[in-house]
């Protein structure tokens, strides 16, 4: 009895104790400061968006027209002073030419204060064929975030209709994309689709106002700026009622011979970008036209038509005025469970509200989509004769989701950065960092981002019931944030995960704002028409796939030329990717073969195939994209042609910066010319630099001064170093300090000279004494902000633009730091190049030289660079070596200037017999210093003698004195 009592008592006691403990623990939980709803003012990276802007002022929309003559500007701001504004006449109309580097301001009077739309009459003058973009300031400030960037589109068209040049049984030839330079009018509008693509309103006070266009990208010629009231959208039912009132009739299908009028999708009238050229599609045999294994450019769009803002228009012939239905034969099998949205315009105007959001659902097969709602198809009024119908990609129904997530990302980035500055990237789990006290807005940030993300999630769920796979990322972030708001301890535990989550969210939002769609046909018709079927059934699909599969073994369509001429044939090997080689094929056919009467056989190979092929006599005539030190090494063995033997070499080599040719030259011979030219730049996270008030260091001394303050906040400066090779940065430093690697011809190394030695020691000290990280993934840490500054080849731009969309616009290039010598900064940067060579065993050396000159010339390099970007987006920005072609690539004016200025200050690494040894041994000396803490000078002495021995051995092999 007693025993039982004791047991029960102790159980009770334990229960009571544990409950007390539990509640007690709950009470001890850190108090999260009260959440008082969304508070935008605490968000420093301003969410001063258009939506709030519209509510700021009284809603007055005066029906007045104010026309500003662009020629009468009041002020210009031309800091860079490269080009300036001037009056130009185009097609008998005079306007103001504004280069991409100048800000222009106009003053004008407004009689009635209120919201106005702004229309611009402009000519897209020839530039780098990217879209024209400017910022717009009203009375000296950006009225809202979106106004920092508006786009005036260029207009492109096909050189000819593909169908006109079609020959049965042979491949189609892709029409060149031609820019249409005409006077054009465009309203400053939401181009992305945050606000259904509507025109932006700007508020002007009564009296004198000023409006400024802030430089961004591409020059433009402007004649007039008009303030007006854009037509407001009406709903479909109103518009239709209006049509009926006006006496318009629904067209009967009988007026067409076969019941409908069709336009081939690829036969577009105009488009906003050269990317949208006709595409070949074999996905279904119901595509018109279709031929097995023959390149038929039979559709337009697809995955390349995914960027919001891009539009395509078609011309249709209406036999009489009246109301028509419109059907698109489309395919959206690119993004599962995502709705692709388009804005429909007829003759440049959105006919009714609903046309701002035309949806194309995901489906694995082609579909005939007749525009309409649940009640039936819409009727559109078309005038007799030619009408223009256009579709513009837009974020559409995802606009709110995208906006909310973007806000959340900028908040999360702030949370991450501020926490890192207190606790570093690897916080201790058990330490109390007191985040809430040290970052007063922290809980607000967290709660706000939770709010944003939850709204976005709810919206996703209403859009698509099956969206569970799509919101997995969102759920993960939400879960983590909720834990954060529970206890600040969880922040330090989940910090690394937060970083991953931010980047996942960034990728997610980019992906959801992409709206791919392919169009095969466009029909206009009356009611109850029987259109040709677009779908195929299961068996047809299987059969089609089988035919394509087995047929693919026989037919190789990829790199075969479409044109043939009488002249000689050369073989060209490209050591790159498949997209690259296909594009090159296309450019060769368009620009080279017919013009030069030379056939080109193009092959895609791997780099390691070149040597065995040359050895066995099966090598090519020309090889593109060979590594930096191959040409000289092969050249001194008489395997590649010395290009200086061609009479016009001197003139042609002017196309490249000297430092890009240096690696290919030995003695008086040059064995290759560069196709790509990359060099080191400083990368800066501008947002962090601003926050920490960092001045971008220009000299190494300044770098060293900066580092402690960075490291105090657990941030780092990245310096590149390569294992087993010559570090490009170290070479740059040697050059900056006035040293060099070799004596003339590479007889002996000059590393032991004072200048080179000092640079080597300085480079080594960074790592041994100043605690720079030797091994780090820069792209990763730059993205997360742990390394807000760093040095890397400028082509990292490509990686960052796909890999880190969430920091877009928050980083910049800066010149390389250098040695400060009597107030002058010497900041040479090292070139990294790849080259094009002509092989000695070629029988067609002259034709090969013709090809090489064409390929490395301005026209081909520009087409190639732009084409790559057209296919793969800005992730494929091509680091061309041709100076004129570089100017033609769509860099922004600022980036272009910084890059070309640094390029003028580049040095090439000479290639000499035995040069492989120098990088190896310098690196050995470097590592020995770092690892064993030995004297760098001694190490370099030891290895320099070894380098000399190897150089001498190699020179003996070649019988050089």
């Amino acid at each position: 009895m007693k025993k039982r009592f004791v047991i029960i008592a102790s159980i009770l006691l334990i229960l009571v104790l544990s409950i007390a403990l539990l509640f007690g623990a709950n009470k001890e939980m850190p108090v999260v400061s009260a959440y008082t709803g969304l508070d935008y003012s605490t968000i420093t990276s301003g969410i001063n968006d258009y939506e709030t802007y519209l509510e700021k002022e009284e809603a007055n929309f005066p029906e007045k027209l104010i026309i500003i003559d662009a020629r009468n500007y009041s002020e210009i701001d031309n800091v860079l002073n490269i080009e300036t504004v001037e009056l130009q006449t185009f097609e008998n109309e005079e306007g103001l030419y504004i280069p991409e580097t100048v800000d222009v301001t106009w003053n004008f009077n407004v009689e009635e204060s209120g919201y106005y739309n702004i229309k611009i009459r402009y000519v897209a003058t020839e530039g780098r064929s990217s879209e024209i973009s400017r910022g717009i300031k009203i009375n000296g400030i950006y009225p809202f975030v979106e106004a920092e960037n508006f786009v005036l589109s260029r207009i492109w068209e096909d050189e000819y209709n593909v169908a006109d040049k079609r020959v049965t049984g042979s491949h189609d030839i892709k029409p060149k994309q031609i820019e249409k330079i005409i006077w054009n009018e465009e309203t400053v509008a939401d181009n992305v689709g945050y606000y259904s693509g509507k025109s932006y309103y700007f508020y002007f006070n009564e009296g004198l106002n000023e409006i400024s266009f802030i430089q961004d990208r591409e020059p433009v010629l402007i004649s007039e700026i008009t303030l007006f009231q854009d037509k407001a959208d009406k709903s479909y039912s109103d518009v239709y009622q209006n049509y009926l009132d006006l006496g318009y009739k629904n067209i009967s299908s009988d007026i067409f011979e076969n019941g409908y009028y069709e336009v081939q999708g690829e036969n577009s009238f105009e488009k906003s970008t050269a990317i949208l050229s006709p595409t070949a599609n074999w996905s279904s045999y119901k595509i018109v036209p279709y031929e097995k294994f023959i390149m038929r450019y039979n559709t337009i769009g697809g995955n390349i038509w995914r960027i919001a803002g891009d539009w395509i228009s078609w011309e249709v012939e209406a036999p009489e005025s009246g109301l028509y239905q419109i059907t698109f034969k489309t395919s959206q099998n690119y993004k599962q469970n995502i709705v692709s949205s388009r804005i429909l315009r007829i003759n440049g105007e959105v006919p009714f509200e609903e046309a701002r959001n035309v949806s194309f659902n995901y489906d694995s097969d082609w579909q005939n989509i007749t525009l309409g709602n649940e009640d039936g198809a819409y009727w559109f009024y078309l005038e007799k004769g030619t009408n223009e119908i256009s579709l513009q990609a837009t974020i559409g129904i995802y606009n709110n989701v995208v906006k909310k997530i973007e806000y959340a990302i900028s908040l999360l980035n702030q949370i991450y950065r501020q926490v890192v500055m207190i606790a570093g990237t690897n916080p201790d789990q058990y330490q109390d960092y007191m985040f809430n006290q040290r970052i007063p807005e922290l809980s607000n940030y967290i709660n706000n981002s939770i709010d944003f993300i939850e709204t976005a999630k709810a919206e996703m769920q209403t859009i698509n019931k099956k969206s569970s796979s799509l919101i997995a990322t969102i759920d993960r972030v939400l879960y983590q944030l909720n834990k954060f708001s529970e206890s600040e301890k969880n922040i330090q535990i989940g910090l690394n995960e937060l970083d991953d989550n931010i980047s996942a969210l960034g990728t997610w939002v980019t992906s959801i704002s992409e709206q791919p769609l392919a169009v095969d046909l466009l029909y206009i018709h009356g009611e109850d028409v029987k259109l040709p079927k677009a779908t195929t059934n299961f068996f047809q699909k299987i059969w089609h796939e089988l035919v394509m599969l087995f047929g693919s073994y026989g037919a190789n369509t990829s790199l075969k030329s479409n044109v043939e001429v009488e002249g000689p044939t050369i073989t060209v090997w490209i050591m790159s990717g498949r997209d690259q080689s296909q594009l090159l094929r296309q450019i060769i056919d368009e620009q080279f073969t017919l013009q030069n009467n030379i056939n080109v056989e193009l092959k895609l190979v791997t780099t390691s195939a070149l040597l065995p092929a040359t050895l066995s006599g099966n090598g090519p005539d020309v090889a593109i994209g060979v590594g930096q030190n191959i040409p000289v090494n092969w050249g001194i063995r008489n395997a590649v042609v010395d290009l200086t033997t061609f009479p016009d070499y001197e003139i042609f080599s002017q196309n490249f910066h000297e430092s890009a040719v240096v690696p290919f030259a030995f003695r008086d011979s040059v064995y290759a010319l560069p196709d790509t030219h990359d060099f080191l730049m400083t990368f800066v996270r501008t947002d962090i630099a601003e926050e920490l008030d960092i001045k971008i260091p220009e000299s190494w001394d300044e770098v060293i001064d900066l580092v402690p303050s960075l490291q105090r906040q657990y941030l780092d400066y990245y310096l590149p170093n390569t294992k087993g090779n010559l570090s490009t940065l170290m070479y740059a430093m040697i050059a900056q300090n006035g040293g060099s690697l070799y004596e003339e011809d590479g007889k002996r190394t000059l590393l032991l000279e004072e200048n080179a030695m000092d640079a080597f020691i300085d480079f080594t000290t960074f790592f041994s004494d100043f605690g720079f990280e030797i091994s780090a993934n820069f792209a990763n840490r730059f993205r997360s902000g742990e390394m807000p500054l760093g040095i890397f080849n400028y082509s990292l731009y490509n990686t960052l633009s796909v890999f880190a969309p969430e920091i877009k616009g928050q980083w910049d290039f800066a010149p390389l730091p250098g040695y400060d010598k009597d107030g002058v900064i010497h900041n040479q940067s090292t070139s990294t190049v790849t080259g094009t060579v002509i092989l000695e065993q070629s029988d067609e050396k002259y034709a090969s030289w013709q090809f090489l000159k064409w390929w490395l010339g301005e026209e081909a390099q520009t087409s190639y660079g732009r084409g790559m970007e057209a296919i793969l987006g800005s992730a494929a920005r091509y680091p061309t070596a041709n100076l004129d072609a570089f100017e033609n690539l769509p860099w922004s004016a600022k980036d272009f200037l910084i890059l070309s200025k640094q390029r003028e200050n580049t040095v090439g690494v000479p290639t000499v017999p035995g040069d492989y040894i120098i990088g190896r041994y310098i690196d050995n000396a470097f590592r020995a210093t770092i690892n064993d803490r030995t004297n760098p000078r001694d190490n370099l002495y030891e290895y320099a003698t070894k380098i000399d021995r190897e150089l001498e051995r190699k020179r003996e092999e070649f019988g050089l004195d």
Binding site: N629, W634, R637, K723, I774, A776, Y916, D923
Partner: protein, 313 residues
């Protein structure tokens, strides 16, 4: 005279080669495809490489005969080769025998387990060998970044403050290479040993017990091992070739060339001079290295064969 007598006494004349082939044409025709391929792809290249080792050949121009100077350079002027030789021998002497013994011990132990468990264990041991370049995962473990697995753990445990550059520090390089190589090389010989252990005739153990075997060690030495000599031989040959041929692992883990040649082996030295991606383009010299490696492997195989013959005696 005497010779003649012997010949007359033995009238048997060895039939000519042609006759012998005709007589056994079925067997010859069966082995012909293999022999053809073996000759073209193995014997011929070995011979050619041997011949090329006396020339200077850069693959772009015709070979030049230079006598023994490749070999002279190799042994007298090339201090990197001596590092490579040293590293290779260390690797071979440690990983070869150790992994051979480990493979055998594991095989012996696992063989005692029930078939299902045994099957599972075999899979675990053999997996590294069949999974190709799975050893690259060691890159993650030994990554020099502070996010490398080992570094992260050590930092987490507060054993170190800054990440250790595992793969870039000479004193760790060889050690890491040995670990990875051990992990990799257990598989093949292990499988052979398991197979060998299975084939041992069980009745022999009973007979031996009757004949007075006293313990498991004697059983192992006198019965098991002699019974599986061929598997032991196979395992040994594989182990030696593997150990002397370490190269790709070093290149993928430590980079090429490794820091201060700390993980340089004969094979990487060979690749340095002779691979298609090398800018040195010294095929003749590479052939000389290959020849040395060949001799080294042949020699150690002969020694091992001698040793294995002694097993069970």
């Amino acid at each position: 005279m005497k010779v003649k007598n012997i010949q007359t006494e033995k009238p048997f004349v060895k039939p000519s080669l042609k006759k012998r082939i005709m007589k056994n044409k079925v067997y010859y025709s069966m082995i012909a495809p293999f022999m053809l391929i073996f000759t073209v792809f193995t014997i011929l290249p070995v011979l050619m490489s041997f011949l090329l080792s006396f020339t200077s050949f850069d693959m772009l121009q015709l070979p030049k005969f230079i006598g023994l100077s490749n070999y002279i350079n190799l042994f007298l002027n090339d201090d990197v080769f001596l590092i490579a030789l040293k590293n290779t021998l260390i690797l071979a002497f440690i990983t070869g025998p150790v992994s051979y013994l480990m493979a055998f011990v594991f095989a012996w132990l696992i063989n005692e387990l029930s078939p299902k468990v045994r099957w599972f264990m075999v899979l675990i041991f053999y997996a590294p060998s069949i999974s190709g370049s799975a050893y690259l995962l060691w890159l993650l473990i030994f990554s020099s970044d502070m996010y490398g697995i080992l570094n992260a753990y050590l930092i987490d445990l507060n054993l170190i403050n800054t990440p250790i550059l595992w793969l870039e520090t000479p004193k760790y390089a060889l050690f890491i290479l040995i670990i990875v190589q051990l992990w990799l090389s257990l598989g093949v010989s292990f499988l052979a040993f398991i197979a060998g252990l299975q084939t041992v005739d069980k009745t022999l153990y009973e007979a031996a017990a009757v004949d007075g075997i006293r313990n498991r060690w004697q059983e192992l030495w006198y019965i098991t091992l002699p019974q599986m000599k061929s598997q032991l031989m196979f395992g040994a040959v594989m182990q030696i070739t593997n150990a002397l041929g370490i190269g790709m692992v070093s290149v993928s883990l430590l980079g090429f060339p490794s820091v201060e040649y700390s993980g340089h082996t004969i094979v990487t030295h060979l690749l340095d001079f002779g691979s298609a991606n090398s800018t040195r383009l010294e095929m003749g010299y590479a052939s000389a290295i290959a020849t040395i490696l060949f001799v080294l492997m042949l020699g150690s195989n002969l020694i091992v064969q001698r040793i294995i013959k002694r097993v069970g005696t």
